[in-house]
Symmetry: C2
Subunit: 154 residues, 2 copies
């Protein structure tokens, strides 16, 4: 199995996983601080999906640290298959959460003009949280592509 940038058990892989955790955590933090987010299903789903992303990425980051510490090779077909499935599932869920929240945010900002007419509505925070969710999706999709490439090139 080839070793490419972002492979499991490498420094670049650890960096990718840490980035995913940080941005997913930031997305949750900003959304939770927005007033009345819990009235909207899409925003609750964003928090659930980003929470799952944090758990998954944190687990794999710990595994990367362990592999780097004891210099263990994680390029084993069974392990990589597991990473591929997990990465694809969380990447799809993250994109779905980011897009559904973006759809609702655009509705509030552009279609019904809630952001202009109701000043106490936390539009800015919704937008920042959605932006962080999209960055998380970009990072996890990068990991997914690397994993799938590794698996397919066995």
């Amino acid at each position: 199995m080839k070793v490419v940038v972002g492979s499991p058990g490498t420094w670049s892989g650890l960096l990718l996983r840490t980035g995913q955790c940080v941005f997913a955590g930031a997305s949750i933090g900003v959304m939770v601080s927005a007033l009345g987010f819990s009235n909207y299903t899409a925003f609750c789903y964003l928090i659930a999906s980003m929470g799952l992303q944090v758990l998954w990425s944190l687990g794999l980051a710990c595994l990367d640290v362990y592999a780097l510490k004891i210099k263990r090779d994680l390029h084993n077909p069974v392990l990589v298959s597991l990473f591929v499935v997990g990465d694809w599932v969380t990447a799809t869920l993250s994109l779905a959460a980011a897009c559904s929240s973006a759809g609702v945010t655009v509705l509030f900002a552009r279609d019904v003009h809630f952001c202009r007419t109701i000043p106490q509505f936390s539009c800015g925070r919704f937008e920042i949280s959605v932006a962080f969710a999209f960055v998380t999706w970009l990072l996890i999709s990068l990991s997914s592509l690397v994993m799938f490439w590794l698996l397919a090139s066995v």
Copy 2:
């Protein structure tokens, strides 16, 4: 290059492409027939994205028919790379469109109860159109996976 189910220039590939065209076209048709869809950015984006999907899948379906007719092999790394990029881009756009429209539809149906309180609101059609968009995404993601697998296993 291996030939797997759904490869370009095969009967299964042609069936997949036809399915994508049919469901994307149905999604557009149902959305266009819904009253007042054009007031919402997410629904307009769904139509644009499904339109692009119809064009892309129709083009590749024609290529499949041509390849089947003259018994030409389309398993060439340059062609497959082109298919991979196109498939991944349209699959991501389709999922984004389906999810953003689903977010807005769920908001109308569950969060603000427009569907119950405003009977002339075409909630049912929005839901059917979104469901067709998700089926389109499932079919195009299947094609994308097959293409990526073909490319990676060269």
